[in-house]
């Protein structure tokens, strides 16, 4: 509004120069009927031509009133706006006479923070990460393996008709478990539905998980919800609910309460890539930012919302860029890299609590499994794609693949180490054997080299 006022008063000058216009104190039309005068005399006038978007006199009156309430800092001397600052509600803004649209995306995608290479070794050039001690690392590894095995069993249990439903977290084990490892037990978790890793880390037992899946009398939720809708006040893990993203504005409220208590704790709210399209994502992030609430929003971008790939979900550079729209610092991290996730969440937690503000973490970790037991993902993606991601960053399967593809030891090794040095009978036997192998190569396996 103020800028319209400015522009208009610039026009006053311009028009005055062009024609001898008298600014009258009451409504009236100039000869020729082109201009309308504002009704208010004595206020910095804004001539509003009929072609202006805001055409009628009452609106221009409104314009004038608004203009009055946010007066310019200095009068316009000429039409060049380049040195002008706009003192607008929300803060000063420099003006420019270059009309430039911000592009919908940066030239380069936001890079993904990663500490371990595909080979499981630290990437060189001084990786920036927080070290974990052996005890922590072992627990992380053990819990990831336990999670994967548990998921396998419970998926099978559903297939056998023993439980009605299940959701696995294959491929995303590091994302949840490392996040949990980086937090304290006082940090409150608001899950979406694929964060059983966090529960396991915190000490929720396998029995408790399975009780919830069966909905028996020992289920903490008293058998009211479908499997994987677990919750535990003892572990500061708020009960899962099916609607997507509803937990995000709730996270802002819970974090505000922590803020009031000045607690050394934060709220960690999980969401998937699909969930960021929900209105509650916008509501949650905006509220957390405005209320300056200590929330870490962790988006598990696993590439799919059931059968919907991220290309059908948003046109932004993933989720990490959305944080800036709310004034929220954000990072993109490799969700299969346990050390990177750990470091990022630790840093996010420090920021959230020390600066009392929300932080957004986008974790990239492909969803290897189906969305749930009600889904057959081969219907919308190729087996080879699944295989690629399954083995791509999975150390055990990768090791098997590598091992499988590796040659056997050379033939020489058949004869070494019987003694410290081969005696003459073995030297002769090797010579004879090699002649036989050359004569009948098909009798012998091809993956033993003859060197």
């Amino acid at each position: 509004m103020a800028s319209w006022g400015r522009r208009s008063s610039g026009m006053v000058h311009h028009i005055k120069a062009l024609s001898k216009v008298e600014l009258r104190g009451k409504a009236g039309e100039m000869k020729g009927g082109w201009w309308r005068y504002p009704l208010q005399p004595g206020v910095a006038s804004a001539l509003v031509p009929r072609s202006w978007p805001c055409v009628n006199t009452m609106a221009s009156l409104f314009l004038v009133q608004r203009f009055k309430s946010s007066l310019p800092q200095k009068q316009v001397e000429d039409d060049d706006d380049d040195d002008q600052d706009l003192d607008f509600p929300g803060g000063k803004v420099a003006c420019t006479s270059e009309m430039k649209f911000i592009s919908g995306s940066y030239d380069k995608r936001i890079p993904c923070y990663r500490v371990l290479g595909d080979d499981g070794e630290l990437i060189k050039d001084g990786s920036d990460f927080e070290k974990v001690n052996k005890e922590l690392a072992v627990k992380m590894y053990r819990d990831m393996v336990c999670l994967q095995i548990m998921d396998t069993f419970l998926y099978e249990a559903q297939r056998q008709g023993r439980i009605s439903f299940y959701m696995t977290s294959f491929g995303e084990e590091a994302a949840t478990i490392s996040s949990a490892a980086a937090l304290t037990k006082d940090d409150i978790i608001l899950p979406q539905y694929r964060e059983q890793g966090v529960l396991l880390w915190r000490g929720f037992t396998l029995q408790e998980i399975v009780n919830q899946c069966f909905g028996n009398k020992d289920d903490g939720g008293k058998g009211r919800q479908m499997p994987v809708h677990y919750g535990s006040s003892k572990h500061n893990f708020v009960t899962v609910s099916s609607p997507i993203a509803t937990q995000l504005p709730q996270a802002a409220g819970m974090a505000y309460s922590l803020k009031m208590d000045k607690k050394d704790a934060c709220v960690v709210a999980f969401i998937g890539d699909g969930g960021t399209s929900e209105g509650d994502f916008h509501a949650g992030l905006n509220f957390a930012a405005v209320m300056e609430a200590p929330v870490i929003f962790v988006c598990r971008n696993n590439g799919w919302a059931i059968s919907t790939p991220t290309s059908d979900q948003f046109r932004s550079d993933g989720v990490v860029v959305k944080g800036q729209a709310y004034g929220i610092p954000s990072i993109r991290v490799d969700g299969t890299d346990a050390l990177a996730v750990y470091s990022a969440i630790r840093a996010a937690r420090n920021m959230a609590i020390n600066e009392q503000r929300p932080v957004l973490v986008e974790s990239l970790a492909y969803r290897v499994g189906h969305h749930s037991t009600s889904d057959d993902s081969t219907k919308y993606r190729s087996l080879s794609e699944i295989e690629h991601w399954k083995t791509g960053r999975d150390p055990l399967l990768k090791a098997i693949q590598v091992a499988e593809g590796t040659e056997k030891p050379p033939l020489t090794e058949l004869f070494t180490d019987v003694y410290d040095l081969p005696p003459s009978n073995l030297v002769e036997q090797e010579k004879l054997l090699r002649q036989t192998v050359n004569k009948y190569p098909h009798d012998f396996p091809s993956d033993v080299s003859l060197h």
């Binding site: 939720g221 006040s233 708020v238 504005p249 409220g253 509650d280 509501a283 905006n286």
Partner: protein, 358 residues
Amino acid sequence: MGLRNIIGRRLGLGLVRRRKPFSTATCDGDGNGNAKSINLYSAINQALHIALETDNRAFVFGEDVSFGGVFRCTTGLADRFGKARVFNTPLCEQGIVGFGIGLAAMGNRAIAEIQFADYIYPAFDQIVNEAAKFRYRSGNQFNCGGLTIRAPYGAVGHGGHYHSQSPEAFFCHVPGIKVVIPRSPRQAKGLLLSCIRDPNPVVFFEPKWLYRLAVEEVPEHDYMLPLSEAEVIRQGSDITLVGWGAQLSVMEQACNEAEKDGISCELIDLKTLLPWDKETVEASVRKTGRVLISHEAPVTGGFGAEISASIVERCFLRLEAPVARVCGLDTPFPLVFEPFYMPTKNKILDAIKATVNY
């Protein structure tokens, strides 16, 4: 101006209240302490002041509440209790309610304002799927009982589609929340304090038409009125009328006119719509044998349908006439046609007569 005084006085004196022992109230709003003649928004303002002063974990938030609110219900709160406890939120109802649920889940009293009931729908998911089920789905490990959502509802004379709605029926269909609607300033203060202190999430609809128009003697002290207890505000023997909120004053006028024709009307203020006090209504219908329900909301699927079905279930053989409903039309709330849309005094009067003469 004159009309305002008349309506004000009518509400102040015309409501005959039958004394009834209250189960949870510290006092029924009569008696002890000073009482001042104030309007509805002031009564609500008093309740909010008391709520914040008696519980330092109570918060008031919503759009524009900081400067006092568009209906002045939150005047003075921010100055007195500070910006950390009384604050504006972004313009986002789902955020307001979601945030309130989170705050309440941490044991706080979260008093959320939705600027007009007409705008509550973006928050419907949070209310129905989250607030209402928070305790149940967690096996009582978590709850958001400290949440109270206040919203102005109902006709205001010139509100049209989006400043006049009565959406109470949508919420009465949700196990897990309570729905409360006061008829007057004194009722509003006591009921609102009960809602805030009730360990369940509550939606509190305030009849906006009465914000300024209704003036009543309201005790200045802290008092609560019980939820889920209907009140017989006028005794009668020929027909039972059931209503809530602003509509009661219209119904009362109809009762007065009917009396001139020798029809004795019993008028009940339901007060809490969910869970509602079936016993009081049933006892009255057993006495009169006839019942008429009136609400501004459209007749089809309105809460009157629930009351009707329930009464027929429980009092079938006692009924002398079909259950009558005098309600809004099945149209969006119109602007210039508002006088035609509304369940007016004469529409109610005609229905009373038709029912009595059935």
